[in-house]
């Protein structure tokens, strides 16, 4: 029986762009180019490797986001995923992390799954809690923040490198996995992959398809409220010296003046 893998991905504003907030204090998506969150590429990569090792597997990439979020799906498809689901609905604007996990969980259940793979965090919100939230909502094991992952005989195993220890984890499928940027370099889409991606199916679902009420999500339905967003003042220009042989001593003098020595 085919191993059904769902990879959750996010379309984010380019971190190297001039990111800022819109008037309603949501992430401004109009003025900065968007792309597939870099950390989700690692999730797609691990899904592809697990699928290659399985006898029979199918990878679905799933995103929740505005129209442009299709770009993120296309990128994942060009890397080698088989099909895509785009959850898009005007009422989703401003949805917070709890709401997002609700939408993703309903979509994952509707799609059908044995294994969910996510990145460790998005590069815009950076909370890193969606995988744990999905495991909670789906009622399946959470096997998260893995630097190494493998699936064999219906069991997922992996290594989680924590602050105080490195742990080996094991759980039965179905399960939710998240992988770190240490899990293995993500492949670049090949020309063939890019061409093939254009023919791969992308389904669009809205809130009604997922039987979610509009007031459960969006800015009004959010479980949190942002009251203000202030640009951090630029740091005042410091002293820059060129090392003419005494640079280390000059620096020591500065540090002593600041009472660090």
């Amino acid at each position: 029986m085919s191993l059904r893998i769902v990879v959750t991905v996010k379309y984010v504003p380019d971190a190297t762009g001039d990111r800022h907030f819109a008037d309603d204090l949501t992430v401004d998506r109009d003025d900065v180019d968007g792309l597939l969150s870099e950390l989700d590429e690692y999730a797609v990569e691990q899904a592809l490797q697990i699928a290659e090792d399985a006898d029979d597997a199918e990878i679905t990439v799933l995103t929740v986001g505005p129209e442009d979020a299709k770009d993120a799906l296309r990128k994942a498809l060009s890397m080698g995923a088989d099909k895509a689901i785009h959850v898009e609905d005007d009422d989703l604007h401003g949805t917070d992390v709890i709401g997002t996990s609700l939408v993703l969980a309903k979509a994952i259940e509707k799609a059908g799954y044995d294994l969910v793979i996510s990145g460790m965090a998005s590069t815009d919100g950076t909370a890193g809690v969606v995988p744990a939230l999905l495991a909670e909502r789906l009622g399946v094991p959470q096997v998260t923040l893995l630097s190494e992952v493998s699936v064999e005989d219906g069991v997922v195993k992996g290594r989680r490198d924590g602050d105080t220890a490195s742990e080996q984890l094991e759980a039965s499928l179905p399960a939710v996995v998240s992988v770190t940027d240490q899990s293995g370099e993500a492949r670049y889409p090949s020309f063939k992959g890019i061409m093939a991606a254009k023919k791969k199916p992308v389904e669009s679902w809205d809130l009604e398809d997922l039987e979610i009420e509009a007031d459960e999500v969006g800015l009004e339905g959010a479980w949190t409220k942002v009251d203000s967003a202030t640009e951090r003042p630029a740091r005042t220009a410091g002293t820059i010296v060129k090392d003419e042989g005494e640079g280390g001593k000059q620096l020591a003098e500065f540090l002593a003046g600041q009472k660090f020595i």
Binding site: V129, G162, L251, L255
Partner: protein, 320 residues
């Protein structure tokens, strides 16, 4: 006064510093009630009492060590039900955030992650967060349910505030999901004898310019002269020169020390995201155009192999 639950991060009863910082923040909102789980939980009480915990709820069971995250969520949920707190505060470690997130769904609450400050407000606690690689500061609050907030290390000072700290046994029954993910082996990190990266007052980091694993010894020597933690940029970690656990940046640790010294680090957005909120920033780099110099209080344009050893020697001399 309303009670505020504080989840205790400890290693065999030794309370980690970020938890003591949480007690400082919790006292701004109400009376801290600590929740300590697992082996040595009862031994946390003295330190927690000294820093303001009026009660310490404890529970030990093999499940906390043998299975991932969920047993702790079950226990924290039991504590929420027993106490009906005004808020739940959890240290922003990887595990802390996961525990907090699952708890929030269970109790029908919103969650705020990675707060860097917290104050009481008319409509509940107001959390300050850094956004977009610390180029923005936001103020947010949880608008549904009991606020669940995770707080980053170094967000508040540790303050002595003696309180009763009475130990009470917490009654916990584990859910069906508790044993879903088994921890089959655990290898503790080897101690380097240096401070924990996220908790250190001074961090000395090396990047691409260090040019080799063996050269990190000069970064370590500088760190040791200052009693600092050692960090590394993603470039240095990806090259295999230094362990990922020491990576500072978006996909590594984010640090906010009193002093940050960047050596051979250009200052890409990925790195800035993890260190931009440091109080004083110093950089040493060959390239005068490196973006890191936009952030510094003091910068030296020069070869780190000349500047860093000279700095280390000078510090040692001055310290005698």
């Amino acid at each position: 006064m309303a009670e505020v639950l504080v989840y205790v991060d400890h290693v065999d009863g030794a309370v980690r510093k970020p938890t003591l910082e949480l007690l400082t923040l919790a006292r701004r909102i109400g009376e801290p009630v600590a929740v300590a789980l697992g082996s040595g939980a009862e031994n946390t009480a003295a330190a927690l009492a000294e820093h303001g915990a009026v009660k310490v709820l404890t529970h030990d069971a093999a499940e906390y060590a043998d299975y991932l995250v969920v047993p702790k969520v079950d226990a924290l949920q039991a504590a929420v039900e027993a106490v009906s707190p005004a808020a739940v505060l959890v240290p922003s470690s990887a595990e802390g955030k996961e525990i907090a997130a699952r708890l929030a769904v269970r109790i029908g609450s919103g969650i705020i992650t990675d707060a860097v400050d917290l104050e009481a407000g008319d409509e509940g606690p107001v959390a300050t967060q850094s956004a977009f690689a610390a180029s923005f500061t936001t103020k947010s609050r949880v608008s549904k349910g009991t606020p669940v907030i995770t707080v980053k290390p170094n967000s508040a000072a540790v303050e002595a505030a003696p309180a009763a700290g009475a130990v009470e046994a917490l009654s916990v029954s584990f859910s069906e999901q508790a044993t879903g993910t088994k921890v089959t082996a655990r290898t503790p990190r080897e101690s380097t004898g240096r401070p924990e990266l996220t908790e250190a007052a001074i961090v000395v980091s090396g990047g691409r310019g260090v040019n080799g694993a063996e050269n990190f010894s000069i970064i370590e020597a500088l760190a040791d002269s200052l009693g600092a933690a050692v960090g590394a940029s993603r470039a240095a970690v990806d090259a295999g020169w230094y362990p990922h656990t020491n990576q500072v940046g978006q996909t590594g640790k984010s640090v906010s020390p009193q002093l940050y010294i960047a050596s051979g680090i250009s200052g890409a957005i990925q790195h800035r995201a993890g260190m931009q909120t440091s109080k004083t920033i110093v950089a040493i780099n060959k390239d005068a155009e490196a973006p890191i110099f936009d952030l510094v209080d003091y910068g030296v344009v020069g070869d780190l192999f000349d500047v860093v050893p000279q700095l280390t020697e000078e510090i040692k001399t001055r310290k005698g």
